[in-house]
């Protein structure tokens, strides 16, 4: 299919030589650690969400609405990169159960501005704290410089074209 790699090459000692070894030797350690870390990272909220009969999709929606009050549907779709139909399924539930409120825009009455209700903010905060606890416990064992380094690394992992967008979204500068 893609004969770049002769089959007989052992996975452990690649034959690539010179400067691009770094790019060609699989970084199995980081690949696997990222997998396991992410799994445990999302497992904390899962347990709580179960009690509300919500899933991870609900969590993501609630999280970003809580973080950016007044977010429109289009903006939320852009962040989550899912279809309108997928979003609507979970958003509808969150609205019906009173965790999110949808307000018709004033400038543009076609738009809907989403806001977490007090109940929604409460749940969002509860979940964020759970994840924060894990994040901070991990950082506590390390150099004080680690937090900046880790967030710099995570940012650098993101697609170049999105990086500025994510940076704005994460570190502020929302024009609402």
């Amino acid at each position: 299919m893609d004969p770049t790699v002769p089959e007989a090459i052992p996975v452990i000692r690649p034959r690539t030589s010179g400067a691009d070894v770094l790019a060609e030797t699989p970084a199995y350690d980081l690949i696997e650690l990222f997998f396991f870390a992410y799994r445990d990272f999302v497992s904390d909220p899962d347990r709580i969400l179960d009690e509300y009969n919500f899933g991870r999709a609900h969590h993501r929606v609630l999280h970003f609405v809580d973080r950016q009050p007044g977010l429109t549907i289009a903006e939320l779709l852009d962040i989550l990169r899912i279809t309108k139909q997928s979003l609507n399924r979970v958003l509808k539930e969150l609205i019906e159960k009173g965790f999110i409120e949808s307000r018709t825009g004033t400038a543009d009455r076609r738009q809907r501005h989403l806001h977490a209700t007090p109940q929604g903010r409460h749940l969002a905060l509860k979940l964020a704290r759970l994840q924060t606890r894990r994040i901070m416990h991990a950082l506590a064992e390390m150099d004080p410089e680690a937090k900046n380094l880790v967030s710099g690394y995570l940012l650098a992992l993101i697609d170049q074209d999105d990086r500025a967008h994510v940076q704005r979204l994460v570190f502020g500068e929302k024009e609402t």
Copy 2:
């Protein structure tokens, strides 16, 4: 539901005071960066897997079988933490399409020892290299010490009880 947090408290300036501020102020930056970084991290393989009509589940199975030749079903289930039925669905396909081979154990003939075929190893390597490229590009922009720091951080994020297990799995010491 859980009245720990009065609703009126603004998310940005929590009223918690003293030493536990770190534990109570949500680390929104890391939470969100982790989300976006992981999304892009798995998106590279997804594009290739599509060509084979495989999904992420296939990738995970192939990855760990490739990394630990001779893995048994029980060991694989323990790593992936999914049910036998879920595993079987994708494993069967990988075997039928010739990416993985299942050999009856010699010491214990009830067991199956899984091995990636040359075709399987080829695909696994191709996918690992894609992810490695992203990982290394991100690291290239940073301090040379960063790699150890990041892997230390990711390891610290993992559930305490599993940490030793994952460490063995990622950094070697397999007794097979």
